[in-house]
């Protein structure tokens, strides 16, 4: 039997000591030789457990084999036939709980799985660096018109697939830039905005019109959309930040991660004053939560010059929902983790500025509805952390701007849109939905997958409707 190296082929990264002073990408990527070496670790399993672990079932052994054979055009073509945004997914997917989590190599004693995400990213970046973009042939005879609400991964994917099928597609995006969370949430050091812009430009080159500054339900009404289009896809995401609502929440220096990250990513506050939008610069920062959003917020605060950044999380390390790679990066950069700790009050000075966060220690009790052990406060364990900035990253809920303008749409008890998981069909004929607005805050790849399924269902719906006419 051939010997497989135990560990993933190391990948070049910016030194933690340097990268905490800049917003440049942390992971620098493989060279061709490194990528081929990593591709050689793949066993080409017949049962393909990795494929089953991928929410869009990418032919993983297939693209890896082509890469191993140095046939990069073929590798690209395989990837792109499943995934419209491989350069994004290679960077942000939680591979450890998807493809890599199922990889046979990873199940072998003392072995790390194949670095599938890093290979995906390598192939996608290789294609981008060729500078030639292959624009697929688009049928000139249009099959119908589709309106897409929201230019996040769900909406962009649905738009691209429908355009390729021959539909006239118009995206309505509330913000001034397309990309959704990819643009306003995930920071530059993890996902360079030039990559998102490149993908958005590709989708435009398919003939998709993107109408930014257009708030569906406000700048254009639902009945106008129904009149002008054969079908509507809603991908408005789960963009409204939740707050813990503890005393002192409105003190200056207390942010939602959404605001903090939007200022930095969408508004480029890290370039202030070259960019007009400011963000407060915290010296001692407390971040609440331990998901990807919390990692992004804490590492951004560090890059803005914070002297200390502490993550407080009411559960333990085991329940932490962040991507494992980001967690490791955060530790390398000096973020401190305070497990089983929950803020109960923000304390401010007489000018309304935050000066400290009062926390309480927690212990884990019986499992709750989510199956995770429920955190319970320990009486009398309150303590104070001095802080001039606190950032809450405890979750987001559905944005109501569209939903309140569309009362016919049936919602789930949690306030998301009720939609068929296979088609995205909502309670209203001709209206489909997918991504975070259906599932609640989830992942880029699930949003993309939902966009793809809905594109197919919309195609079938419009064709069957036109056949009847």
């Amino acid at each position: 039997m051939i010997k497989i190296p135990n560990n993933k082929t190391p990948i070049k990264e910016q030194d933690p000591k340097e990268r905490i002073h800049n917003f440049g990408e942390v992971v620098l990527g493989y060279t061709l030789e490194e990528a081929v070496a990593e591709a050689n670790r793949c066993l080409q399993c017949v049962n393909q457990p990795c494929v089953a672990g991928c929410p869009v079932n990418i032919d993983i052994p297939g693209f890896i084999l082509a890469l191993r054979n140095r046939d990069l055009p073929k590798s690209t073509q395989i990837l792109k036939s499943y995934n419209n945004l491989p350069a994004v997914c290679g960077r942000v997917c939680p591979q450890e709980s998807q493809c890599e989590g199922r990889c046979t190599v990873g199940k072998m004693k003392d072995h790390e799985p194949v670095a599938i995400g890093k290979l995906e990213r390598f192939v996608a970046d290789w294609e981008a660096n060729q500078g030639i973009v292959n624009i697929p042939e688009i049928p000139s005879q249009k099959l119908g018109r589709v309106a897409i609400i929201g230019a996040g991964p769900a909406g962009l994917t649905a738009a691209a697939d429908l355009a390729k099928m021959g539909y006239e597609v118009k995206i309505f995006e509330a913000l001034h830039a397309a990309g959704g969370v990819l643009m306003y949430g995930i920071p530059e050091f993890r996902l360079p905005k030039s990559i998102v812009e490149r993908e958005v430009n590709f989708i435009k080159s398919l003939g998709v019109e993107i109408d930014t500054d257009s708030i569906a339900g406000r700048s254009v009404t639902i009945s106008e959309l129904k009149n002008e289009f054969d079908a509507i896809f809603i991908g408005t995401g789960a963009g409204t930040p939740s707050f813990m609502n503890i005393p002192g929440t409105n003190l200056n220096g207390v942010y939602s991660a959404s605001e903090f990250l939007t200022r930095i990513n969408l508004m480029h506050a890290y370039k202030f004053p070259e960019s007009d939008t400011p963000v407060r610069l915290g010296k001692h920062v407390v971040v609440v939560g331990a998901g990807n959003v919390a990692m992004d917020a804490s590492r951004s605060a560090l890059r803005l010059g914070a002297e200390s950044v502490k993550i407080v999380y009411r559960r333990s390390e085991e329940e932490m929902p962040a991507r494992i790679e980001e967690y490791h990066h955060a530790i390398e950069e000096g973020i401190e983790f305070h497990w089983l700790t929950n803020p109960i009050e923000y304390i401010g000075d007489d000018k309304g500025n935050l000066t400290a966060v009062k926390c309480i220690k927690m212990k884990l009790g019986e499992p709750d509805a989510s199956g995770r052990r429920r955190p319970i406060p320990i009486d009398g364990s309150e303590f104070i952390i001095e802080a001039d900035m606190a950032i809450e990253a405890i979750g987001q809920t559905s944005n109501k701007v569209l939903l309140s303008a569309f009362p016919e749409l049936k919602l789930t008890p949690h306030g998301y849109i009720e939609a068929d998981p296979e088609t995205g069909q909502t309670s209203v004929e001709g209206v489909f939905a997918g991504g975070d607005i259906v599932t609640g805050a989830a992942t880029v790849i699930l949003a993309m997958g939902a966009g793809k399924k809905s594109a197919k269902a919309i195609d079938e719906y419009i064709k069957s409707k036109k056949a009847v006419l």
Binding site: F243, S258, F272, G352
Partner: protein
């Protein structure tokens, strides 16, 4: 891009412009606002839709130059274009027949009170308007407001126009002479709204105020605009901007408006250093 089709100076450092924004114009209602950006590096700032013309697809914005973005807007010319105009945002004002309404506007807030009082007049209300300013030249849009008001009172701090005093003096004056007010609105500087809300409470008049916290997206996605109303945190951009004046935590709002004071100063100084003399504004 959103072209500026006309521009006029209406007071020291106060301007009105009409901007081409057909989608906003055709959906706007009194009490709503837009979020604009002057350029690619610009900040997103909220401005009230002071008027709109559906046929021409234009909206009217009235603003006071107070910082980088509004200074820059003041230097823009007819034919120039704003990078972004998004809206209409926020809940429209609740227009219906109340009976007698008291409309209080101060400073550039007069621009926000005007579309509401127009619509209230059309809905059959008796409209009593109080406009306040530090001095006569800062009382803007007086003639337009007068056209849609049954009565109009001006107060100035220095007495250079109308009654010497502040808007709350005007409010008390009108109630003292026996007028029964069914609903009031107050829009202007935060302190003015605070004290008119206190006075309205004393006088037993229900009052709406239009809050002006710092905003980013204006669509409920960030929480920058959060205010405390009663015991609850509300997002002014989607839950407001109008709220029951009795219930607002004013001191918190004023603190939050000062959040970026140092950076705002740097931004404006850099801008002035770049463009030179702006004393003409």
């Amino acid at each position: 891009m959103f072209e500026i089709t006309s521009k006029e100076k209406i007071a020291t450092k106060e301007y009105e412009i009409w901007v081409k924004a057909p989608k906003v114009a055709s959906h706007a209602k009194p009490g709503q606002f837009v979020v604009i950006r002057t350029s690619l590096n610009g900040e997103r700032i909220p401005l009230t839709i002071a008027d709109f013309n559906v046929e021409k697809g234009e909206i009217r914005l009235i603003f006071q130059a107070v910082g980088k973005t509004t200074y820059e807007m003041a230097t823009m010319k007819v034919g120039d274009a704003l990078q972004d105009v998004a809206g209409p945002l926020g809940h429209p004002s609740e227009i219906k027949k109340y009976g007698t309404v008291m409309m209080i506007g101060g400073g550039v807030g007069i621009a926000a009170i005007l579309p509401i009082l127009k619509e209230l007049k059309r809905a059959g209300n008796k409209v009593i308007t109080i406009l306040g300013g530090r001095s006569a030249d800062l009382v803007i849009l007086k003639d337009e407001c007068e056209k849609f008001s049954d009565e109009l009172l001006v107060t100035t701090d220095d007495g250079s126009m109308g009654m010497k005093g502040v808007v709350t003096d005007g409010m008390k004056e009108i109630v003292k002479r026996g007028e029964k007010i069914d609903q009031a609105w107050s829009i202007g500087p935060t302190v003015m709204m605070k004290f008119s809300a206190y006075t309205a409470k004393e006088l037993g008049i229900p009052i709406f105020v239009s809050l002006n916290p710092i905003m980013v997206d204006g669509t409920g996605m960030c929480g920058a605009c959060r205010v405390t109303v009663g015991k609850n945190i509300r997002f002014a951009c989607v839950d407001g901007p109008e709220f029951d004046g009795y219930e607002v935590n004013w001191d918190e709002l004023m603190n939050r408006l000062r959040q970026y004071k140092d950076q705002e100063k740097i931004s404006l100084e850099n801008y002035m250093a770049r463009v030179g003399d702006l004393s003409w504004l």
